[in-house]
């Protein structure tokens, strides 16, 4: 294979251009690495070579990293060890070249690509938004194994390396230059001219790297033993807080950095290698690698009609209902410079919409991602009205009004008389029927469900639910628009609760039901947090609002019958005790700012309904998770989504289901489908028919199928 082209110029400078045939990106597969090694050996034996510059012919990509398909196929520790040894030795070879080596980085330089650049003497980056440098291996559950953990700290220091390697975050060209990761910046239009000037200065010895000026704190922390101990202990503590021990890669990276920074390169590389092997063969890493591929698959928008051509964003958009969701959607649209008009019944309603959008912008300003003047400019895109004045201009209107089918239908009819025929209308309903809403429209072909998650600024998922009448062109446009706004689309077939809420509500109901069997609110929440959920179910119920949650639960009970029966504690809390959740300050917990304690009033009110038995922790978790698995299997059978990857990505992105477990269905595979059925059967005997294993699950187990193809 000819992944590289060589070209030696009259000065003896060799340009090694990486251009992987038939691929959009350059990646280091095993065969490419072999070819690279062969070229290096040849060049090292050639006395006329005065220097080597590694470039890429791909637009927007320098080298995207190692071939992840190959990583997915790693069979075991030996295989992993071999891969690492090869990469380490090839980059060592690069480092030892008897002539200056330069990486000319224009575009994405990630993972193995950055490790290659780190092994060069110099790195020059083109100042272009496409240029990004990162070591994102941690996001796949392992660490940089080709020298990244050794060469980066020696270049830019411990603290900076710790942050970059444990988060995997990307630096643009300027930031990389400021940190010393890159030695010079080039401008896109003059990169060859500027490069050749720099090369000349390297040849005649006048090239000056940016002097590394360590701040006081950096010197103290990194260069003294006590400082380093402090640095690492704080970092470990923070890592454990964030990952709760579920993502071993983070702490392992810190260990490697701490233990090898004073070691020789060779010793350091050995430690790096062994830790890589340990991590890459772990279940967590396998799960994260699978999720990488699932995410790629989901990004291809399965189920979206296959039209071609660019889609211009909406010129004007409107949002009916300026509550938290309406305000959040307005925030999203305005942040993409799409003028958005909020409409509500009264000024207080509009106020809430503005406040929500303002709040999300303020968070960005606080995190220094946005300047106050930029926030003022962004808020200007949001206007409002109590009438539908101006809606004749709209290309897109989203209704986010109260969850009442009659009110929604009325609003949609009224809206339709104001908007153009080709204006897209979407509903943000969580649980009502898209088909039913479509029935009141004159032009239902432009109507669909577009379900955002709360809070809109942080939840990446959007469920798009076409009705039977939604036209393919409209569906395509809708998917493109949501993608342009930076969200991940999953197309879901119309059913009550769609995908995420349908599954989530079984979990919420079940958690509530465990209270009637003697479970304690705070304990259940703790167990689910330990399982990996971002929030316990009762904290979540309070956050969402008990009225909102109950309403969805009732809608789902109506649609699905007994297995979705509203759990008594939910209806008791809302109907009898008039609890609303966090917004009111009391729900399952009593809230004061961020502090919370269990609402003993609710506990007392529930006491008479609690059966006099006990329930152990394992059963609580089993009940909550198995009921979801069961429902998910039903969703797949009904083709609510068309693949397990979509279902798992949706649950992770929509509810924060733990990624380290690979997703709900991956977890089921790892638990074993036969074991799932056994557990479900036992639970159905102990706790009720709702646990009866779904026919789809039974069929799969009988045929010895799994949701995901087995590893090798």
């Amino acid at each position: 294979m000819d992944a590289f082209h060589l070209n030696k110029d009259t000065d003896g400078l060799v340009h090694l251009t990486f251009d992987l045939p038939n691929e959009k990106v350059n990646k280091f597969s095993e065969t490419v690495m072999e070819e690279f090694e062969a070229h290096l050996k040849l060049l090292q034996g050639d006395a006329t070579v005065k220097g080597l510059v590694i470039e890429s012919a791909k637009n927007g990509i320098f080298i995207a990293g190692a071939d992840i398909e190959e990583i997915k196929k790693i069979e075991g520790p030996e295989h992993a060890r071999h891969k690492i040894e090869r990469g380490q030795s090839i980059f060592n070879l690069l480092e030892k070249c008897p002539f200056p080596t330069i990486a000319l980085i224009h575009g994405a330089c990630m993972g193995g690509g950055l490790e290659c650049a780190l092994a060069c003497n110099y790195r020059f980056a083109v100042d272009d938004p496409k240029t990004k440098l990162a070591l994102p291996e941690v996001q796949l559950g392992f660490l940089p194994g080709w020298g990244g953990t050794q060469r980066m700290p020696r270049l830019i220091g411990l603290q900076a390396s710790m942050e970059l390697i444990t988060t995997g975050k990307a630096l643009d060209a300027r930031k990389a230059y400021k940190q010393g990761l890159v030695d010079a910046l080039l401008t896109p239009n003059r990169k060859q001219l500027e490069f050749s000037d720099l090369w000349k200065s390297i040849l005649n010895g006048t090239f000056k790297r940016k002097p590394k000026r360590n701040s006081w704190s950096q010197t103290l922390l990194e260069k003294t033993l006590i400082g380093r101990k402090l640095l690492f202990s704080i970092a470990k503590k923070k890592a454990l807080e964030k990952t709760k021990g579920h993502y071993p890669a983070v702490t392992t990276i810190l260990e490697v950095l701490e233990n090898t920074h004073h070691a020789s390169l060779q010793e350091g590389l050995e430690v790096e290698r062994e830790k890589f092997v340990q991590l890459a063969t772990s279940t967590v890493s396998r799960n994260l690698v699978q999720l990488f591929f699932s995410n790629e698959a989901v990004k291809k928008l399965p189920g979206c009609p296959n039209f071609e051509g660019p889609v211009a964003p909406p010129r004007y958009s409107g949002v009916l209902g300026a509550g938290v969701m309406g305000g959040g959607i307005a925030w999203l649209l305005s942040s993409k410079k799409i003028p958005v008009r909020l409409r509500d019944l009264n000024l207080e309603g509009l106020q809430k919409g503005y406040q929500t959008a303002d709040q999300y912008y303020s968070q960005l300003v606080k995190r220094r991602r946005m300047k106050p003047t930029q926030k003022a400019m962004a808020m200007q895109y949001i206007s409002s009205d109590l009438t539908l004045n101006g809606f004749n201009k709209m290309d897109l209107v989203v209704e986010a009004i109260v969850e009442n089918i009659d009110i929604k239908k009325k609003a949609l009819t009224q809206l339709e008389s104001e908007v153009r025929e080709d204006c897209l209308i979407a509903s943000n309903t969580s649980a009502l029927s898209i088909e039913d809403m479509a029935s009141v429209l004159q032009h239902p072909e432009r109507f669909f469900g577009m379900h955002f998650f709360n809070p809109v600024n942080r939840m990446p998922l959007v469920e798009i639910i076409p009705s039977s009448k939604t036209s393919p062109e409209v569906l395509y446009k809708a998917c493109q628009w949501v993608k342009q706004m930076g969200k991940t689309v999953v197309i879901v077939k119309n059913c009550a609760g769609f995908l995420v809420n349908r599954i989530l509500l079984t979990y919420m109901n079940e958690a509530a039901r465990t209270l009637l069997d003697g479970a304690e609110i705070s304990n259940v929440d703790r167990l689910m947090l330990d399982f990996g959920m971002p929030m316990g179910p009762f904290a979540l119920a309070d956050e969402v609002g008990l009225d909102v949650g109950l309403h969805v639960a009732q809608t789902l009970e109506q649609a699905y019958g007994n297995r979705m029966q509203v759990a008594l504690p939910l209806s008791l809390a809302h109907d009898q005790l008039k609890l609303l959740g966090k917004k009111q300050g009391k729900g399952f917990y009593l809230w004061k700012g961020k502090e919370s304690k269990v609402n003993t009033q609710l506990v007392d009110a529930l006491k008479p309904k609690v059966a006099s038995k006990t329930i152990d922790d394992t059963t609580i978790v089993e009940r909550c998770i198995m009921i979801m698995i069961n429902e998910a299997a039903m969703c797949l059978a009904e083709e609510i989504v068309t693949s397990p990857e979509q279902l798992d990505m949706a649950m992770i992105m929509g509810t924060g289901f733990p990624a380290f477990r690979g997703g709900l269905l991956k977890y089921a595979d790892q638990y074993g489908l036969t074991a799932c059925i056994r557990t479900l059967t036992q639970l159905s005997q102990d706790y009720g028919e709702r646990f009866a294993p779904a026919p789809h699950l039974i069929a799969m187990a009988e045929k010895q199928q799994t949701f995901y193809p087995p590893l090798n």
Binding site: R341, Q351, Y354, Q380, G390
Partner: protein
């Protein structure tokens, strides 16, 4: 006479006393919000606009050429040029008349004109000594130069220059606006009681107008950050104003023997106003229904000390242009910068001697019918955001003429620095 200018609708924000709700919005943000709404309400295709002209006095440093920034914040396309104009208190009118000139020259077909002011945010400035210290510090090339600069500091360096005080003082005649009102109070022998009475009338008329909803159609509610509560109406009107309360105030501009108080003067205010203009023929051709028409206008100059008489000078000039008489103006909006200044104008309009001495006329200009003057209250009650008022007067006047089924009106302002502006407006 030149072709009339059609005024296609007009909209303004509520006027709010400085330091109140509108202090949270810089003048460009406020105007942009208003204009975005205005274009929706007018159902006017913004792509038809050829220009944007905005009047603004304080010209905040962060919004160089505020009209341009407002235009783009309001969602008007990049290709529409914009410029900011300044004729002190008549900046709002200057925007309108500049637009008129360009329309008549046929350089543009549709122009968005208006005015905006956030007097709350007029800054305090470092004085000259402190500014020099900063400059010396920045120029200092080594530690000893830096130290030398810093050691020159004296506490008096911190004494700020109050922007609004400076802005409201005429440096040529060295009088602030209130002091020019005192000049007129003396020249026309206007008593404290008479001024307070006019102030009271202004509040009463404004209060009644607000109560019967007169201002509702011209006012756009604004959601004000950070809480985004809506400001729906002018908040300066004192509905319970009475002579007793007014008499308690001490004279503000001449502590020793003055008559002008903060009660019988207009308050410092924030607000914005906007309208779209085109030639009458364009409006006819497009089947548009204008709010009214600008028939003609005039600006006149006089001594800065007597700037309050600007209206009569400008009106006299206007009347020579159009051939109208004072009685032809069925409604008159004469800006109430100060009660003394309004009364001075009333007396001057009615005075043959004044006309002979100052206007080169044989007869008095013409007595103003009190029922025709500021029938819905004036700036003393509503406030005077200096860049915006000129535009507001035109909108309010046309709305008043329309609601009373009248035809012809006059909007006129006194201008700090010694000028007057007068606009002749018609409904049909």
């Amino acid at each position: 006479m030149q072709e009339r200018i059609a005024i296609l609708g007009g909209l303004r924000t509520p006027f709010s006393k400085a330091g109140g709700p509108l202090a949270s919005l810089e003048s460009d943000d406020l105007a942009a919000i208003l204009i975005r709404e205005f274009l929706f309400k007018l159902d006017f295709d913004a792509t038809q606009l050829d220009e944007v002209i905005i009047g603004n006095v304080s010209q905040p440093v962060s919004s160089a050429n505020i009209a341009r920034i407002i235009s783009r914040k309001a969602g008007i396309a990049d290709h529409v040029p914009a410029c900011s104009v300044h004729r002190n208190c008549a900046s709002g009118m200057e925007a309108i008349t500049s637009a008129a000139e360009r329309l008549l020259l046929k350089r543009s077909r549709f122009i968005l004109a208006g005015g905006t002011e956030c007097m709350s945010r007029i800054p305090l400035l470092y004085n000259e000594k402190m500014t020099k210290l900063f400059a010396d510090l920045m120029r200092a090339k080594n530690l000893s130069a830096k130290l030398k600069a810093m050691l020159s500091f004296r506490p008096s360096f911190l004494s700020p220059v109050v922007g609004i005080k400076e802005g409201l003082t005429d440096p040529v005649c060295d009088l602030n606006m209130g002091q020019t009102a005192e000049v007129l109070a003396r020249e026309f022998s206007i008593s404290r009681e008479e001024q307070d009475q006019l102030a009271l009338t202004s509040h009463q008329k404004a209060s009644a107008a607000q109560a019967r909803g007169f201002y509702r159609s011209e006012t756009q509610s604004i959601a004000v950050p950070p809480k985004y509560t809506f400001l729906e109406a002018d908040d300066g009107i004192r509905h319970q104003q009475n002579m007793k309360d007014l008499s308690k105030l001490k004279p503000y501009f001449d502590r020793d023997c003055g008559t002008v108080t903060v009660g019988n003067a207009c308050p410092i205010t924030d607000g914005a106003a906007a309208m779209v203009l085109c030639l009458e023929s364009t409006a006819k051709e497009q089947g548009l229904q204008p709010l009214g028409y600008l028939k003609d206008w005039a600006y006149a100059g006089l001594e800065g000390e007597r700037m309050g008489l600007g209206p009569i000078y400008a009106t006299s000039k206007l009347m020579r242009q159009t051939g109208q008489q004072v009685k032809d103006f069925e409604r008159i909006e004469l800006n109430e910068a100060f009660a003394a200044q309004v009364i001075a104008n009333q007396r001057a309009f009615a005075s043959k001697r004044f006309a002979e001495t100052y206007l080169g006329r044989n007869e008095a200009l013409g007595e103003i019918d009190p029922a025709a003057l500021n029938p819905n209250g004036g700036a003393i009650a509503l406030g005077h955001p200096v860049g915006a008022t000129g535009a507001r007067l035109v909108i309010t006047l046309l709305n008043e003429l329309k609601s009373q089924h009248l035809q012809s009106g006059l909007a006129t302002l006194c201008i700090g620095g010694g000028q007057g502006a007068a606009l002749a407006l018609e409904v049909n």
